[in-house]
Symmetry: C2
Subunit: 661 residues, 2 copies
């Protein structure tokens, strides 16, 4: 067994080394138009009361579930071992390799804030299997290697480049986390193989499931090899050419994988939600590197189509299970909502990039909404149960699962939570950006000066935040602090959802306890100062309970309100209300109380509101109504106490009744 | 174009020829213990007011849909053409060949009561493709022939023998209908190939989806070659040996395909419902031919497990969509009921055989229940829409489909309706059996005398039946007339379901208008007589509306009643009740009226019952209750007027309420 202090020392060295290499590579590839560069997970220590326990939970429970399911209960790892031995059949689904890679990416992030020798050893062992399975020409996909290798790169729906993209993401993350480059070298060889096969030969091909664009851009940034950027761009440009010969009897229509128009001509969100999010995330990466305004313009238009007409209050997207994606504008059923966990993770990925590109905080408003609600709901409070779909209402039929045959969601929510450090800070040559309010420490460089940053907060339960900014030497720079849209009654521009009872806050900021001048810009408070060691910025956003309505076009939400406090969307669950959540109406103007509450071991703020409850009489011959107080809990905590009725949108009128349903 | 009268003449000749050959083959293979032999479709002309229009609908609509989907919209036929040409890839699912065969079987039956040159020409064309695709060694399965032929007979879940069984059924049906034996010869070659590969080499194998046993037994009866009977028996004996190496991570457990115990040791119904029905149908065929009481004893025990603990009132089976099958005793949820159409078809197939084996009318009671309710519900009144699952309650989410990716149900319900003639009569050397009450003509041989039989009735809307029995010369024989269980308050022995308000009828039978002596035996009235030309048997079963309750173990039906009249189970649908079917309770003792009614163009008897309706007040602030009359319609007609709420089991108490669900 390795000595722990030696181990920690080695890891610290690795961090320094990798961070240095990373910055060199970034500079080398720097012709970005981005407003800032996000500070990566490997540079951020998360100390947060809310997120740190979740990071630990992911390390001790979720990743254990991923590892067990990937290596023991299913032959995902065995497929690599068999491939290396040239023996055995492929068992599983053709995209199963990606689950291994996504788990490795999550494990990489986890090592930063929850170092764990066993997890690192597992990762190293898996990486050995993966490297041994790679073909001499760089190709790597166990489905084709154990099957009919002559068919590789002939069936574009078979996810070879999707798998490859996840491998690249894992490789960069593991390199970033540990400094070990074995997996990175595998990814580089595979990327070179694909570059030759695809771009250099200009093959008739596009990716049946976008993802490789993201992986290639990460590989580009870490290596500086601009072939990968060109290849990512090549993939984007293949879209909209209808390379896939669509047959009317098949379920895959061009809109399913965003192939109706070239990316730059796209204006509407269509098809499979996760595919769309990965496409636009990769597009944003390419746009940032190439300064291609065509991409940026298209994405801004598509983004409006998502946010103003096709997003749930939880930040979830993709209402339909049939195509795991979008249907038509304002079609947002609550009980039937698909809202795949991975799609909400994709919303986080894309909106972070849009914010980097534009410096507009509205993207972080959406990111925060998806993160704390639609995505986090995918992970049980116990860490070892998962939701694939995240409905906004339930008749009790929904249940968290240990695992899924198509196992994208568990590893995806794990990598999001373990990598939460990726979304807190941004930096450029003359400013620090604070996007999320999460207790954490980082050390960055502004204007050639090293700056230690430390944040403390009880967010999301209250809006008090304190940030210590300690430059190595006193220095002029700007600190951008996001002013959340919900403090301004501004639920994503108020287009799809609006606040009934809110008051626009005029936030105040203090430096070392004294009111500070600031200007407002694109949703940020910008504090310009000559900062010195130990300066403390403090502020408090009030967190009233907001009663939200939706645009009347969302028929499912008519005559209903939803409750939100800070970034947290609430729901009423049977577990807190005599096992019923469909037997009441609320007064939209009723006073709403906050209380300290616990869901299992999770301390939360719950809400209480007076409601008219309808119940059958004892003999079942009639109905009677009574006034009672009902309790609403954070949406992300629902369904942790068994199958249960639940509603996010609470009715304000009696319009329909079902007896004994 | 062929001259029509020549054509009809040819067909008649073919019928005579095939019927003769059939009887010769039957005699040749006769060591059956059966109580009677069912009179096959090719000997029965259906004239019925209820079924004949449905047979025509199947010919003009359902079969057209099958043909369009099989040949035009999907490449199921193209797969055969490509196989013959040794070119192209297999497109579709590995069991798609079976849809072609099942359609051919349905087309065969249809030709009897709805002759149609276009359909026959299509069948002949398809048969040419099929014959051309067969390998020289007799093997035929386009999935493996267009894929990796070296893998044939290595993956027992790939349905090769399932496909083969359907080919055999189609071949025998087409031969029976037309006298043409091209497809029969294909089936014989394939059966010989399988016999060599499997039985003669005693291969480690069982069928992943039972069906071939049925096909082989039909082939045995038509050819007299007892290798096929032996092969069918071999297949039965392979079950329960755990030949399939079950891996814990996989979804297929031994009970899924009835592999826990040898067939003769089975006592419980398990797993996939259609698989189970096909297994026991094939087992009954083998038992009838081999006089193997072990099979019969096992099936009687399993049958009780189905009927007393695991069958819906509609005769549907298999509550769960997860395994398309059975779960645990009394687990019969209404809204979530899977009740696959094919499983109800399977209930008809199995129960007909059990009745043939035992002469006990209780099996026909079940057959009739599944036929008029669970199965017929699978076919829309327009003939071109289908249900795959047939729930007993709906919140309006269910909808009939044009087609399904797995397309078993449309062809299955089509072959059942087109072949309804198979289930009406039975015959042995000294008796005629009348099982179903369906207007029809047939000509049979009893005691070497030809007997013309003609039945007229308005069943299922009233219970008046008239049967003309015309022997060529006066002759002593018995006529067995089924006394339906519902006339005796006997809803399948009253074990799972029982009648609240019934009166046991004492049926009377008349011969030429005069009361006739009869004895009651196993649910039949047996009239012994010296019959002469033109004798008319008449009788009338009263059809009161029965209020049915279920055993309390069926939690979903507690404090509810269901309505049945004759064999028809009723439901309340929103379309007849202000679009709501979940807003009332009924008094279980309320008087129920019958009315003439129409669902689209379908004339039916509907029911009316007083109910307490709960509705919101105009301003949505409160609920109010009113007494109103609600209308119930035959279950099989529901969901023909759009998506709709529906309930079969009507609540008698208010126990739970959902507002605005």
């Amino acid at each position: 067994m390795r000595n722990k202090s030696v181990k920690n020392h080695t890891m610290k060295l690795a961090f320094v080394l990798s961070a240095t290499l990373f910055l060199i590579a970034k500079l080398y590839s720097q012709h970005s138009i981005s407003c800032y560069t996000s500070v990566g997970f490997s540079q951020v220590e998360v100390t947060d009361h809310f997120w740190k326990p979740k990071i630990d939970l992911v390390a001790t429970k979720s990743l254990q579930a991923c590892i067990y399911q990937t290596e023991i209960a299913t032959p995902r790892i065995q497929n690599f071992i068999n491939t290396a031995k040239h023996s055995g059949k492929f068992v599983g689904i053709y995209y199963d390799d990606s689950d291994v890679y996504k788990a490795l990416e999550a494990m990489s992030y986890s090592l930063k804030n929850h170092p764990d020798t066993a997890i690192e050893n597992t990762a190293d062992r898996w990486i050995n299997y993966i490297a041994a399975a790679q073909m001499s020409d760089g190709y790597l996909d166990t489905y084709f290697q154990l099957g009919d290798i002559s068919k590789r790169w002939t069936e574009l729906e078979k996810h070879e480049d999707y798998n490859a993209g996840h491998l690249m993401e894992a490789a960069v993350a593991y390199y970033d986390a540990t400094g070990k480059r074995k997996l990175l070298d595998v990814a580089i060889r595979l990327a070179n193989h694909i570059d030759t096969t695809m771009r250099i030969n200009n093959r008739q091909w596009f990716s049946g499931h976008e993802e490789i664009e993201i992986g290639l851009m990460k590989l580009y940034h870490v290596t500086g090899n601009d072939n990968y950027e060109k290849l990512a761009n090549w993939y984007l440009n293949q879209r909209g050419k209808h390379i896939y010969a669509y047959r009317p009897e098949e379920w895959v229509k061009p809109e399913y994988w965003q192939d109706v128009l070239p990316v730059k001509d796209q204006t509407q969100i269509t098809g499979h939600a996760v595919r769309a999010m990965y496409l636009y995330s990769g597009t944003a990466d390419v746009a940032a590197a190439t300064n291609d305004s065509g991409y940026i313009h298209a994405m801004k238009t598509v983004w409006q189509d998502v946010i103003y007409r096709n997003m749930y209050l939880t930040g979830g997207i993709g209402p339909s299970g049939d195509n795991e994606g979008f249907t038509k504008d304002y079609d947002l059923p609550n009980e039937q909502a698909y809202c795949e966990t991975c799609a909400s993770v994709g919303m986080v990925l894309w909106n972070e990039r849009m914010n980097e590109l534009t410096g507009d905080a509205k993207y972080i408003d959406v990111l925060e909404r998806s993160l704390y609600n639609g995505a986090l709901d995918g992970l049980s409070l116990s860490g070892d149960r998962f939701f694939y779909d995240n409905p906004l209402a339930s008749n009790g039929q929904h249940e968290r699962s240990k695992w899924f045959g198509t196992a994208c969601c568990p590893a995806n929510i794990s990598r999001l939570v373990a990598g939460i450090g990726n979304y807190i800070y941004g930096v450029n040559d003359k400013s620090l950006w604070v996007n999320l309010f999460i207790g954490s420490n980082t050390s960055i460089k502004i204007n050639n000066t090293s700056v230690d940053v430390s944040m403390q907060t009880n967010y999301p339960w209250d809006g008090k935040v304190s940030i210590t900014v300690s430059p190595a030497e006193s220095k002029n720079f700007d600190v951008y602090i996001r002013i959340p849209g919900w403090t301004q009654n501004d639920i994503v521009d108020g287009n799809l959802y609006f606040v009934n009872n809110g008051v626009k806050q005029s936030p105040q900021f203090f430096v070392n306890g004294k009111p500070a001048d600031f200007k407002q810009q694109n949703g940020y408070a910008v504090i310009s100062n000559k900062w010195k060691k130990g300066d403390v910025i403090s502020f408090e956003y009030a967190m009233p309970v907001l009663a939200i309505s939706s645009k009347k076009e969302v028929l499912y939400d008519n005559d209903r309100i939803a409750l939100q406090r800070g970034p947290i969307v609430y729901c009423v669950e049977g577990a807190d209300n005599n096992n019923e959540a469909w037997n009441f109406i609320v007064n939209p103007n009723a006073v709403i109380q906050t209380i300290d509450y616990k869901i299992l071991n999770e301390p939360v703020i719950a809400l209480q509101i007076k409601a008219t409850i309808i119940q059958p009489s004892a003999d079942g011959s009639a109905l009677q109504s009574t006034e009672k107080t009902i309790t609403a809990i954070p949406y992300y905590t629902w369904c942790n106490r068994g199958k249960n009725e639940m509603q996010v949108w609470l009715p304000t009128k009696m319009k329909e009744i079902k007896l004994n349903y």
